[in-house]
């Protein structure tokens, strides 16, 4: 009975989400927001770089090699977060058939793969001086490598079908199944013996890392997150543009000058395909 009282609010919220997720409205809003997100990302990354490479003190145990942490850890955060984003968008696409959800998931996938690659490469370059090995087949490193292959598998699967909607459906299912890998990555350092150190920021009892290293880490993390947002909006806009181009070149015929173009272009003017 109590829930009924909130029903109008819930409906209002759902209606707002639907309005925002309308492709035409998305193009308008994202067009305005995009440059600001880009400037914010560039500024945050510049500040993060100066702080990481110049201002932050060397670690008392790891010396200057600790500077690799400022890119390794945020890229690991993003590798996991972007995958979670893709899985949620895939669930929305499968359940509600929302037109923007699949576009969002597919736009995010190469960015997530990029962050995972950065995480693996910088981890290797940090592991060599600290552990004496470029790579070890332990639980944390192996599960992140599996995450990288999940990204590649998702991208390959989505593009493997001539019928785009079937590829998108198959990709959504793969993204949802692959979500079991996320808790394995997060807790691998607690569940198994590993060379990799346990969490020092997101842990019970607060961060154990010193504030002089934590602050640049968080700034770099915010910079990576803003960069992801910028890339996501940019790539979603690209996908919508390309969809529209395909629709127009399939259904539209070039109008000859001096004639009523409306009469010559029934599909291009009123067709659902053109309106996406």
């Amino acid at each position: 009975m109590v829930a009924l009282k909130y029903l109008p609010e819930i409906e209002k919220g759902a209606a707002m989400l639907t309005r925002l997720a309308n492709p035409a409205r998305f193009m308008r809003v994202s067009g305005v927001v995009l440059p600001w997100v880009g400037v914010a990302a560039a500024g945050m990354l510049a500040l993060g770089l100066v702080w990481s490479l110049l201002l932050a003190p060397p670690d008392y145990q790891q010396g200057e090699s600790v500077r690799i942490m400022f890119i390794h850890v945020p890229s690991a955060w993003m590798a996991l977060s972007v995958y979670l984003f893709i899985a949620i968008a895939s669930a929305v696409a499968l359940v509600w058939r929302h037109p923007l959800a699949e576009i969002a998931a597919q736009a995010a996938a190469p960015v997530g793969a990029g962050f995972t690659l950065v995480c693996l490469a910088t981890g290797s370059l940090w592991g060599r001086p600290m552990w004496g090995a470029w790579w070890v087949w332990d639980a944390r490193l192996t599960s992140v490598l599996v995450l990288f292959f999940l990204y590649l598998g998702y991208i390959a699967l989505v593009n493997a079908f001539d019928d785009g909607s079937r590829g998108a459906r198959a990709g959504s299912l793969l993204a949802l199944v692959g979500i079991v890998n996320l808790p394995i990555i997060k807790f691998s350092v607690d569940w198994w013996n590993t060379l990799h150190q346990p969490a020092s920021v997101l842990r019970l009892g607060g961060p154990s890392i010193d504030i002089s290293l934590l602050l640049p880490l968080l700034v770099m993390g915010a910079g990576f997150a803003l960069l992801f947002l910028w890339l996501l909006l940019l790539r979603m806009r690209t996908a919508l543009n390309e969809k529209k181009v395909r629709a127009l070149s399939l259904y539209g015929q070039p109008a000859s000058r001096g004639e009523d173009s409306d009469a010559k272009l029934p599909a291009a003017r009123s067709g659902v395909a053109v309106k996406l």
Partner: protein, 58 residues
Amino acid sequence: MTNAIESWFAMGGYAGFVWPAYGVTAAVLGGLALFSWRRHRRSGDTLARLQRQLGTRD
């Protein structure tokens, strides 16, 4: 002054690990940004040209 810059580049003996790590990051993320930006601009240009040819606005 030159010593300060030199010792900064040396990264306490870890130069061979710190600089490649930042280099890989810049190459991967910068490459993604550049590629995505160019493809976005191209898609917008193609769409605008097509709409001009067809005389449609939406």
